[in-house]
């Protein structure tokens, strides 16, 4: 089946509980996600939406699986740019696995179509977001300001 997939793995010196909280707490998200936060009850079937500092909602969907502090699956659809919206639903899976004194975080973002523009877009975004998250959890501060677009 034609498919586009982006996978990003990193190891963060933290606990699964702290990482889960960092991935789901709105105020904490804003610190490393360039001002963005995600609104959700984080339970299976609950709605999920990504809200920008100016109030715009660019992405929305539903929590398909939630198993704290191990696994989260989001049905994720872009709602802002027409060519990305037209691609329909993607799936974002976040997996947390204890590894020594750290946690292995794996993000898999996939859509059932070839050469997806949405997957290209998130491939640029995830490394910046997760680099910031790792620095914030390990050092107490992020490395990139909200204006960093590259």
């Amino acid at each position: 089946m034609p498919r586009s997939t982006f996978v990003y793995v990193t190891y963060i010196r933290t606990t699964p509980e702290q990482l889960w909280s960092a991935l789901t707490d709105q105020e904490f998200q804003k610190q490393y996600w360039f001002g963005v936060h995600c609104e959700s009850e984080w339970t299976p079937g609950s709605s999920w939406k990504m809200v920008h500092p100016d109030g715009r909602i660019t992405d929305a969907g539903e929590i398909l699986e939630s198993d704290p502090p191990r696994r989260l699956v989001i049905r994720w659809r872009h709602e802002d740019k027409p060519e990305l919206k037209a691609e329909g639903d993607s799936l974002c899976t976040m997996e947390l696995e204890p590894t020594g004194r750290a946690v292995k975080l794996s993000i898999t973002h996939t859509i059932e179509r070839e050469s997806s523009k949405l997957i290209t877009a998130v491939s640029g975004g995830w490394p910046r977001i997760i680099s910031n998250l790792k620095s914030l959890l390990e050092t107490g501060s992020t490395i990139l300001a909200s204006g960093s677009k590259r």
Partner: protein, 151 residues
């Protein structure tokens, strides 16, 4: 494109290009964040490049194809320890450093000219661990973890 295997990884590290370059080329620093391996290289164009396991066995070998401190290294990289991966022939590893705010964007691209390469699958598992430890070492003075699931 379909005939080759490709891995790319981007991480952003709070450091300077000069310090990151040192961390990527100094054997004493490399050993701290990279499974204890020993890298031998003069880091000049055409110089041989060798990576050995902590017990001294040769893991990988090759040659520096391009080098531009503190921005870019291109390595011809041949697996030497696993017969199946060795049979796949040389891969090419590109390391790019780019200043970004008060940090450096590090991009690792690893390619091998055959589909579904076992070697590229292996490095796809190893690079995220190595680079997560490198980022922690430069930002906090210590690696993130010494226990890798595969080791």
């Amino acid at each position: 494109m379909s005939a080759s295997s490709h891995f790319v990884y981007v991480t952003i590290i709070r450091t300077t290009p000069a310090k990151l370059w040192e961390a990527l080329t100094d054997p004493k620093l490399i050993r701290q964040y990279w499974y204890g391996v020993n890298v031998e290289c003069a880091w000049t164009k055409g110089a041989p490049w060798k990576l050995a396991f902590p017990d001294g066995r040769l893991a990988d070998a090759g040659e520096i194809l391009e080098i531009a401190p503190p921005r870019r290294i291109l390595i011809r990289w041949q697996n030497e320890w696993n017969p199946e991966m060795k049979a796949e022939g040389p891969s090419c590893c590109t390391i790019d450093l780019e200043p970004l705010d008060d940090a450096v964007k590090l991009t690792i691209t690893h390619d091998l000219d055959r589909p579904e390469s076992r070697f590229i699958r292996a490095v796809s598992g190893a690079w995220p661990y190595t680079l997560a430890n490198l980022k922690s070492l430069l930002e906090t003075g210590a690696v993130a973890t010494n226990s890798h699931p595969g080791h």
